[in-house]
């Protein structure tokens, strides 16, 4: 049986369609989840896609974290369900305190769309096991509030625990502390990534096909689980 990966659509989600396409391309079955859903429909993993949920009014992700479906996701994440937040999804996971830290305004103050190279730091998570630690991949960054921030103790502890998922390796595009591009939860099932792997699954429309590994990884993780 193929894995079923839910992709949440909040009002204002934009990359939900692309995330579903990536899930399908990796060989899993994408399941549309709606922000108002009271159930996760038995999915094996969840992607919170990029976009501007609720317009990103107030702060990115601040309003989305109170959506009904988030209650289900927070609970299931606690039981080990693999969850990946991409860009706005990462912001939502931080706002929901499923991931440490916060994402602040880019150092350059502008929205930045750029092809970036990131280095995978942790290759054991549910979302990165198809990569090798130290591997460089080319993906798309597109965000206005993508600067990863945490207090010194938090930074020290995520470094010590191996919770840094990936770092920018072609210059720091937004002022993220320690070049952090993504982090994972202590348990390793909840991941947040600022750049977009789902926009890097086909060289015709993206900078590479490197991003598919995130979706292929979760397939493997689900099979083992």
């Amino acid at each position: 049986m193929t894995a079923r990966i839910g992709v949440v659509t909040f009002p204002g989600s934009l990359d939900d369609r692309d995330a579903r396409r990536a899930v399908r391309r990796a060989g899993a079955e994408p399941v549309e989840l709606w922000h108002d859903d009271a159930s996760l429909h038995g999915v094996d993993g969840v992607v919170l896609p990029g976009g501007f949920s609720y317009g990103d009014y107030l702060r990115c992700g601040a309003i989305a974290r109170f959506a009904p479906v988030m209650r289900q996701i927070i609970e299931a994440a606690g039981r080990g369900l693999p969850v990946l937040g991409i860009c706005n999804g990462f912001q939502i996971l931080c706002e929901a305190h499923l991931l440490p830290g916060a994402l602040a305004r880019n150092a350059g103050l502008h929205f930045v769309t750029r092809d970036v190279t990131i280095r995978i730091e942790n290759d054991t998570s549910a979302w990165t096991r198809q990569y090798r630690a130290g591997q460089h991949i080319r993906v798309v960054l597109k965000s206005g509030e993508g600067a990863y921030m945490a207090d010194p103790q938090t930074l020290a502890s995520i470094e010590a625990n191996g919770q840094v998922l990936a770092r920018y390796a072609s210059g720091n595009p937004n002022g993220s502390q320690r070049d952090i591009a993504g982090v994972i939860s202590e348990a390793g099932n909840v991941a947040g990534l600022m750049p977009h792997p789902e926009h890097a699954i086909d060289e015709l429309t993206g900078p590479s096909a490197d991003g598919i590994g995130f979706f292929a990884s979760v397939l493997q993780a689900v099979a083992i689980r």
Partner: protein
């Protein structure tokens, strides 16, 4: 301040009713302050057989404004229809919200470009943002899913303090609205000239996709059908005019002065509105639909009723308000953003409302379609409007304004650039190349384009820095559309007829270099005051040039927009028609890119180069010179070139193709080297300055694999396109043998420097 705590409604006694209007024909009305002439006011009274009510006056004043009625341009724009080439691709044409073009496989696309120049000067961020919002709703109203946007921008000198205020605001406004809406920005323009200092041009384009059967029209049909207003609530946005009316009619409480003329955009609401409309379309319940843009409810109701040949009864007090103190005239004129109006059968209203509720979109029945042929509106029980809708929508005044070629035109043409000293030494040629490449005009636009998301939706095949944007429509077959916009104020200043054809030719060529087949045209005509005969001459020449050019190229104009009164004091901007060309790509996997991505390919210059420097970037930047004739136009040659490029792309002959425009071959080569990360070695002819900097039209530079070269050469011969092998790709530099060599790193530094240095 909020939706729940509304101020007390204005006293109803203050309303000017239809009965009042009949009873008090002599009452003075502030028509002049609303922008109507005495003749126009008299014409309204004649049409109605009485003076208009205040609310009616509001409707006519906005519907008969230059912006909505095209009263100074209409007579000339007819040429687009009269001279339209025979074509079977047009499913809906001029007069609709946007033109619709058949692209095959059951798909159609609709696209249009529109200006938001004045608002963007007053409040750059919101002005530009709402410009994007408005054009997206136009596309949505045709039944299409918007799939991409573009922006053509022109500012005063890049280093002027006011440009530092306006440009970053405009760019972040476009970025904010387009990104938040989830529409990839696939291209545009960025130009600078002192003539735009007090009057920037902000033109936004949107393209949408639909199946043939999904086409929607703005027509209210079926008496008894319900009129539903949905989206944002109506507030006092952009109704400076209506407040004139309010203060004049209601004793001038001064309240009117507070009405803002700036609208604030809510892209989140627009995103919901887009998804909501598309879901509504899928149910098949929508009989007619219209977006609310300039002139708001006044425009939507009159155009829907006129379009359907019906009547309509509207209860203005049903319109959901953000500010309860608004009166009927203000509600009619409000330009609040993110609103649409639909016509629905009564039995389908609940289903309609359910879908709106799902998307959190407020929807309200505000009236119904009638068979009376009258547009009737009530407000708190009294009738405030009773007019034939066509009289406002279609029977506005049409002016044949005087047009005279200004005497100064001859002086301008006489200032021949042939007198300018051409560089000959390698050192000087190199310096001029770096001057162009390092200028805001010729430099890298990444500072702007990086703020735009071009990846969203995952179907963008080409965007900046390529010549045209290219989006995939069907992932199975590879069907896609390419789009480019171009305009050149300098050329048009010298010769508006030829200049407009050059803009058309450039956009056409930009689309063609990707391998796409040009299919249709949209345009945004940015000019000074039509009341100035010299400007009117420029305008008539430009329209004639575009209509003739499209006829010759065999591609119809499907729609567009006219923006007059672009001037500072008495000084108009350079005439700036911006032309958008749409092409179809049968298989986007065969697209041609603009960069040299590999070494060892032959660099071939297609087309003929003549010493043509009139209006050129080189003459302007190197000598501050603007004069003489613009490059010669040869549309048959453009057609031949485009045909050749499509064949070459389909047969996979090309590594790269890049069109030549501003800055000539010099800039094109530098751009291809930089975007592909590979240098080239070029063997220049004797007249290197002409070779490098002339802006002769109808040219492109391509790179072809050595084994494909014979094929390419024979295809060129067959198409009647001259082709000269001028060098080879490869190496770490842009080298002109015997003249100069610039390492790629130095090229890149020069290219990238200008905009970040100015704007941070």
């Amino acid at each position: 301040m909020s939706q729940d705590v509304a101020a007390a409604p204005r006293a109803r006694a203050a309303q000017d009713t239809v009965a009042d209007a009949a009873a008090t024909p002599e009452r003075a009305q502030p028509f002049a302050a609303l922008g109507l002439t005495a003749d126009e006011y008299a014409r309204i009274a004649r049409l109605l057989g009485r003076r208009p009510t205040d609310a009616e006056l509001a409707i006519y004043s906005v519907m008969w404004s230059e912006h909505c009625s095209y009263k100074s341009s209409r007579k000339h724009l007819r040429q687009f229809a009269d001279k339209a080439p025979a074509t079977d691709v047009l499913l809906a044409g001029i007069g609709q919200n946007a033109g619709v073009v058949d692209i095959g496989q059951g798909y159609a696309v609709t696209f249009k470009i529109e200006s938001h120049n004045h608002p963007s000067y007053v409040e750059p961020f919101q002005g530009a943002a709402t410009g994007v919002g408005g054009i997206v709703r136009d596309i949505l109203a045709m039944g299409a899913r918007p799939v991409a946007v573009m922006d053509a921008l022109r500012f005063g000198p890049a280093d002027a303090p006011d440009t530092r205020r306006v440009l970053p605001g405009v760019v972040s406004g476009i970025s904010f609205y387009g990104n938040c809406l989830g529409l990839p920005n696939i291209g545009g323009e960025l130009a600078f000239d002192p003539c735009y200092a007090g009057n920037p041009l902000v033109n936004a384009l949107c393209v949408g996709v639909l199946r043939h059967e999904d086409l929607k029209l703005a027509a209210a049909t079926g008496p008894g059908n319900q009129v539903i207003l949905f989206g944002s609530r109506t507030g006092p946005d952009g109704i400076g005019g209506a407040s004139v009316l309010a203060s004049a009619s209601f004793g001038g409480t001064g309240e009117g002065a507070k009405r803002p003329s700036v609208q604030v955009g809510d892209p989140f609401m627009e995103k919901l509105l887009v998804e909501c409309c598309l879901e509504l379309y899928r149910t098949g319940l929508v009989i007619g639909i219209q977006d609310l843009g300039a002139a708001g409810v006044a425009c939507a109701t009159t155009e829907l009723a006129a379009g359907g040949g019906t009547g309509m009864r509207v209860r203005l007090d049903s319109v959901p308000l953000r500010d309860a103190s608004l009166g009927p005239a203000e509600i009619l004129m409000s330009e609040s953003q993110e609103r649409m109006m639909a016509i629905i059968e009564p039995g389908h209203v609940p289903a309609f409302m359910d879908i709106c509720a799902k998307w959190d979109v407020q929807a309200t029945v505000i009236g119904e379609v009638t068979d009376t042929g009258r547009l009737e509106m009530s407000w708190q029980g009294v009738q405030v409007v009773d007019i034939p809708p066509g009289s406002a929508a279609d029977s506005g005044p049409v002016y044949d304004r005087p047009a005279h070629r200004p005497a100064t035109q001859d002086e301008l043409l006489a200032a021949d650039p042939g007198r300018l000293p051409l560089p000959a030494a390698g050192r000087d040629l190199r310096a001029d190349l770096l001057l162009l490449l390092g200028s805001p005009e010729g430099g890298d636009k990444t500072w702007v384009t990086e703020q735009y998301d071009h990846y969203v939706r995952g179907d963008t095949v080409l965007a900046m820095p390529h010549d045209a944007g290219l989006v995939r429509i069907d992932a199975e077959t590879g069907l896609g559309v390419a789009l480019a916009t171009d305009g050149n104020g300098r050329y048009c200043q010298l010769d508006p007829y030829a200049g407009t054809q050059l803009a058309l030719a450039e956009a056409y060529r930009n689309v063609a270099v990707t391998g796409a087949r040009p299919l249709a045209v949209t345009n945004c005509l940015n000019f000074g005051s039509p009341e100035d005969p010299a400007v009117m001459w420029q305008f008539t020449e430009a329209v004639r040039g575009l209509a003739d050019g499209c006829q010759q190229l065999g591609i119809p104009v499907t729609g567009g927009n006219v923006s007059f009164y672009n001037q500072t004091g008495g000084t108009p901007i350079q005439p700036t028609p911006v032309v958008g060309v749409l092409g179809v790509h049968d298989d986007v996997r065969c697209r041609t890119v603009s960069g040299f991505t590999a070494a060892g390919a032959s660099v071939v210059l297609l087309g003929d180069t003549r010493p043509e420097f009139g209006g050129s970037l080189w003459a302007w930047l190197r000598h501050g010179h603007l004069g003489g004739r613009p490059p010669a136009v040869d549309l048959d040659a453009e057609k031949a070139l485009a045909g050749l490029l499509a064949v070459a792309a389909a047969r996979g002959l090309l590594l790269a193709a890049h069109d030549l425009s501003d800055g000539g071959l010099a800039l094109a080569l530098a751009e291809s080297c930089l975007s592909g990360g590979t240098g080239c070695v070029i063997q220049p002819p004797a007249d290197a300055a002409v070779f490098l900097f002339s802006e002769s039209a109808g040219r492109a530079v391509v790179a072809a694999w050595p084994d494909a070269l014979p094929d390419l050469v024979s295809a060129c011969a067959a198409a009647g396109v001259s082709a000269a092998v001028i060098g080879t790709t490869g190496g770490p530099a842009l080298e002109l043998t015997g003249l100069f060599s610039v390492p790629l790193a130095d090229l890149a530094t020069a290219h990238r420097a200008a905009l970040p240095a100015l704007f941070g």
